[in-house]
Every structure is written in structure tokens, then in C-alpha cells.
Amino acid sequence: MEIVIHIVTVLVVLFVVLNIAAGLIWVERRLLALWQDRYGPNRVGPLGLMQVAADTIKLFFKEDWVPPFADKGVFILAPAIVMLTVLMSFTVLPFAPGMQITDLNIGLLFVLAMSSLGVYSVVLGGWSSDNKYSLLGGLRAAAQMLGYEVFMGLALMGVVLMAGSFSLRAIVDAQSKMWFIVPQFVGFVLFLIAGAAEMRRLPFDIPEAESELVAGFHSEYSGMKFGMFFVGEYVGVVLISALISILFLGGWHGPLLPPIVWFLIKMFAFIAFFILLRAGLPRPRFDQLMSWGWKIMLPLALANLLVTGAIVLAVK
């Protein structure tokens, strides 16, 4: 019986997450359009909502083409990796009390590990395409991830110190009185930035930099394999937004409304924020981004960790 419940939970989470991600494509296009004085998709279905369905059908029916010069096995594997790793992270996220697939006691580490593995999809996709633009995109992605993974993890250690656990449920429980965004504001900002970089969203989209590398690592991809990268990016946005809500904004905590509603409100606020970032900012140069990451963000994350550790020790 327990197994059935588990399987049902997994399927429900998978279903909801994928639908939110797909819906996000519509949300992003409409929001960007709103901010850019234009309409966005508004023809298919009510308010253009069915645009995503139409696009998905189109992607499914496109020829599943692998360029003859590509490394075939790796080329096919790469988009699968991105979907797999991002979706795996959702297994440890507590959405509301009782709504979680599994509560690993190293949940946060698991998420970080999965996001690190996700880099492989970009690097391998860029390399196996055997295209100079893709190669440059893959190289940029590798360098960017190296730079940003490090302080992304460090930025979260303050939260872990304060909650005393890697378990995401325990972290949410520890915020019942005060959200970690207050004592861990530096960590919050650092993670927000690292999160955007992790998702390769503007202003950190240098691996695909449309106006420079055309589409970077996925230049050669088409059909549903491209769709996997595409949806993977949106699932990533959902993941990072959910993580920020859980780690810094008290997850499901909040007055009056049911826990899951609070969780969703917080998550969507950050999703909208990431879309706004994309509408507003230019793209820094690759070397500027790297030196910024290593020279400013990393020392800040270390200092934050040091101070938090000292305070936690003193209080104990």
C-alpha cells in the first residue's frame, strides 16, 4: 500500500512540475511581452494558453535529426541528462507538510550534486555537436559552472549551520519563527545570483548568448531533443525558485492560507523575478562574469559562512 502511495506521489509531482514548467513558457512570453509593449502569444486557445500545447505538438512531429558529424551517442544523451538531473532534485523538495517524495537527511547536498551533474548535459551537448559555436558555448558553460557552483554551495552553508541539518524539511521547520532571509540576507543574494547563473538565464546566458554564439551549446539540436533543453531550462527555473522559497522564505510557512498556497505564491514571485531580470539586463562578458564570481562572490560567501559560524557558536 505504501508503495502505491509513493508511486502516486512521484507521478503527481512529476505531472505538476512538468505542467508548471510548460505553463511557464507561456507565462514568460506573456510577461516579457507586457514589459516590452507588445502582445505575446494570444491566438491559440483562451489568452494564448494553448500555444505551449501547439509548440509541443510541433516539436514532437519534427524530424528527429542527428547531424552526421555529431557524436551520436553523446549527442542523444546530453538533453536527457539535463531533464533527469533537474527532475531528480524535485524528489527531496518539501512542498508542504506531508507533500514530499522523500526526506533525505542530506537533501540539500543531493540537490547541489544533481545541479552539478546537470552541467554535463551542456558541456557534452556542446562538445558532441562538433560545431565551433557549440564548442565555445560548452566551454563557456563549463567555466561558468565551475565558478558559480563553488559559492552557490558555500552561500547555502549559513542556512545549514543555522538549521543544523541538511534535510530540507528540517530547514523549513527551523524557519517557523523567522525566515532565514533576515539573518542570511547575504547568503540569499548570493544564492539568487548563483541560481540565475546555474539556470543559464540572462544575464548569465553566455553559454547560449544568442547574439554572439547563435544558440551556443544547442545550436545543432532540433525537435524534441531541443525541447528537452528548453523544458529543462524552465524546470530549472521552477527548481531554483522553489529552493529559494524553501531555504530563505520559510517554505510553506505563512498565515491564513493553506501551506501549499503559500509555497506556490513564493515560488511564482521568484519565477516572475527571474523573467524580469531577463527583460531588463544586458549580458556581461564571459571574463567579466568569471572574475566577478571568483573575486567578489566567492570571498563574500566565505565571509558570510565565517560570520554565521562564529555567531552560531557564540549563541550555543
Binding site: 540572462l202 546566458d205 547574439s211 554572439e212 531588463g280 539586463l281 544586458p282 549580458r283 562578458r285
Partner: protein
Amino acid sequence: MSTAVANTTILSELQDKFGAGSIVPQETRDHIPTFWAPRDQIHDIVRHLKSGVPSPYKMLYDLTAIDERVRTHRDGEPGSDFTLIYHLLSFERNEYIRIKAALKSDDLHVKTITNVWPSANWYEREVWDMFGIVFDGHPHLARILMPRTWVGHPLRKDHPARATEMGPFRLPDQKQDEEQEALRFRPEEWGMKRSSEDTDFIFLNIGPQHPGTHGVLRIVLQLDGEEIVDCVPEIGFHHRGAEKMGERQSWHTYIPYTDRIDYLGGVMNNLAYLTAVEKLAGIEPPPRAQVIRVMLSELFRIISHLVWYGTFAQDVGQLSPVFYTFNDRERAFGIIEAICGARMHPNWFRIGGVAQDLPQGWDSMIRDFIKYLPPRLIEYDKEIMRNRIFKARTQGVGAYSAEECIEWGVTGPNLRACGFEWDFRKKQPYSVYDQFQFDIPTAQHGDCYDRAAVRVEEMRQSLRIIEQCVNNMPAGSYKSLQPLSAPPLKPDNTMHDIETLITHFLGVSWGPVIPPGEALGAIEATKGNNGYYLISDGSTVSYRTRIRTPSFPHMQTLPNLCRGLMVSDLLAILGSIDFVLADIDR
């Protein structure tokens, strides 16, 4: 007119140095000092003019040729089959000089001047491509506008001009393979190495289809990692033979073709062309026509700069501004449409004036726009120019000095961004620009950011000019009544007797017969100095139409700007120099 040439001190200076017999002056309609010189001495004369004379001619403004073999009116000119024409510009004298060299068909050789001006490189390649004149000692005399596989030299008079004069086009597999093979980039041809001691270079082909090149431009990058070691811009994909078409179209029917040279500049192109035509025809358009022309030209300067503004922001990764600026441009196009009936290519100026009088309500539309745009520009300043990431991407990137600009023939906002205050609207006023108040914005560093800052400020100055036009629009006719105006207005006495009827009919059908002569009409276009050098052989069509565009020399400077920088910087530089491919290739 002859006194104008004889009085110039430069003639005696040249004759003292090179012998009175070898420097022969020629009268021209545009009063630019014009001298014929022996072919073998051209190199030395040009070098002397650049560095040997007081107030030297620092800029190679243009270099082109004429196929003279079927020309009839050559009064007082030395005989030649082909003529090479060097246009130089002295900023200190504020004067052009034109040096011509006669060549015979059986000996089309001349010494290169690329060692005097590096910018002569592309110009000489173009002359070789179009006329088959060989420049001895040129570093890489290859075709530049035509495909490498092209047979013949298109601007020769015996080369066919239309598809119907050639056989049907066929592209069998074998020919397609050859054409594609001809496009393969071979680094050795450009003096590049495939590897250095410690690295193998990547050769990255950007374009002809690429979102960052703003048109069909191909740039081959020699990369060490992401660092640009060298680059080769390859142009010609947008070449449509505009100069050749000028030899078939009547003076009047060529106007629409000019619209499409700098296709963002609209009627501003008409103005450059008509400035030259009206010099040849001796027409002075009435004041109302002049002010209408200035007003619309400045409106088009704003339109062009708005396109540049949005796309430049997009080149450095900012997604939104392009939508805002294109919306503003749309408003400006609303005015253009109301006045001219068309938008991007209004084709609205005519020989001797403009096509029609202004419609009712034109002034309120423009006043609305003058009120509307400045707050928007302030908003863009906040969003783009003061954005820290934008600054980090553009400041100190792709800088050149005023000396380099002059050396490479750079004009317009790109020159002014180096701190050199030179605007042809002020320095050599054409039309009625001398009657307007406006400032010439300049900047100091000559980098991508400063080039942008100059253009942003230029939009405000253009608004000032437009406002003065609205407030002081003169009454009177919108077109000259002089006989060579085209199409001729119908004065009261036109349709009364057969003579005036015939004259009017010929003026409308054949168009005017422009008296023989030559003239350069150069204006401060949206991107720099745009000049039309027209030769009339006393006929209804131009004998030779030379279009000197600003984007051509600007693109040639690209390798100097991007060496040692990153791929991302290349895109920022391309955005900042504001070129139009049709303006480069013609």
C-alpha cells in the same frame, strides 16, 4: 569657374614640385580643385599631398575609376580609356582635392597607394574588381564585391548590365560545388597562420547568416580560445550593382535606388544624390523645398539612430530596448507616411524640390513627436547608457583615436566620438543647414560607449533642427520652376501651345538632359559622409554614378578594432559602428 581652380595655391605647389607640364587642372561643376597627373607620378603626388604640403590632405575620401571609352563630351581633358580618380580631403583647408590619372586599355597598371593610406586597400580591390585595373604592389588584390568566380569587370561599359543581356542562369551540381569551394576560407591567402608555437587557432566563420552581423556580412575570426587574434571581414553579399544601375536609369528614375543604399536613411540618400545632380544642373531649389528636405532628413536621422540604439542594446544582450525604440520609430514612420505616402523608402525628393507639398496637419504631427521623444530618450539613458553592465561591456572596448579615424576614412558619429568636432552640416553646409542652430556632440575616448553617447545626443540635436523647421517653414513652391527640374511642374502656360506641351512631355517621359560635367555631392548622412560623384555626358542618364558610402571604410577598420579582444566584444563593436550592409556593398 576657371579662376576658382587657377587661384588655388595647391596647383602652383604641385606644379613647382612635379613640373608644370604634368599637373593639368580641369574645371568641374562642383569647384573642387581637380588635376590630371601622369600615372607614374600618382603615388608620389598623393604621398606629397598627404604629408608634404602645408595643411595636408589627411583623408583618402574616395578612390574610384571611370570607363571613358564611350564618352563623348571630354572637353579639354586628356584622352584616356580609363580614368582613376582619387578624392582626398583636408580638414585644415576644409577642402577636397581630386586627382585623376589617365590609363590606356592595353596597360591598366598603376602603383598601389596602400603604403600611403592603409584604407586604400579595399578601394583598390573594388576598382580592380569593377574595372580590372591592376594595382602593382597591392598586398591582396582579390575581388571584393563580386563572387570570386565572376568573369569580367562589371563597371566596364562592355559588361552586360541586365540579366536579359546574359544567358539564362544555371547552377548544375558541379558549378555549385565550385562556387562553394570558392567561398572556403584559406588563412594562408590572408597571411594568417593556422597555428602558433603553443596553440592551434580556431577559424570561426561568423555570417553571412548570423544574428549579430545585422545583415549578410561574413567575418572570419582567427581565435586563440575566445580571444580574437585577427579577423577578415568579407563583404559583397549585399551587392546589387547600384552604381551600374545608375548608368541605365534616367536622372529622375534613379532616385528610388538611392533610398536603398543606406536603407535606414530613407530620403537622406535622395538628398546626397540630388545635391550632386543639382550642382550639375545648376538648380537652386526654393526655400520651402530646402527646409522640407532638411526636416525629413533629420527625422530619418532619428529613425536610423533609433534602430541602431535598440539593436546595439540587443547586441550586448539586452532584450527589451529594441522593442521600445522600434515603437518610437513607428511613430516617426507615421509622420513619414503621412507626408510621403511610404515608410522606409519614401523616394520623395525630386530634382529641384520634393514630390508634393506638405499635407494638412503635418505640423501638429511633428510637434507631437517633438514632445514625445525627449522623455523617452531620458528613459533609455537610464535603461541603457547608465546601466553598469552595459558600461562594462562598452567602455574601453574597440577604441580608436581621431588620427586613426582620419587615416582610415572614418567619418560621422564614429569620428566625432574621438573628440574631433567635424560635421559636414556645419563645416561644408549644404542645402540650408547653415541657417539652423544645433550643436555637434562629441566624446573623447572613441570607444563603443562614446560612439553610442554621440548618437544619442545627435537625436536630441536633430529634434532641435526639426523644431526650427516646423516653426519657420517658409511659404512658396515646393519645387523649382527651372527647366531641368523633374518631373516638371505645370506652370500656367504649359498646356496652351504645342511647344510647351512637347517640352513638358519630354521632361516627364525622358526626364531632363543634364549638361555635361561632373560633380560630387557629399552630405552628413546618418552614418557618416555619403557622397555621390556623378559624371554627366550630356544625356538623360548618368555616365558614371559613384557612391561613396560611410559604412565601407568603417567596416574596413574592423580588424584594427577587435584584435586582442573577445568574441563578445566583436559583437559590441559591430553594433557600435552602426553600419548597413547595403551601404557597404551598394
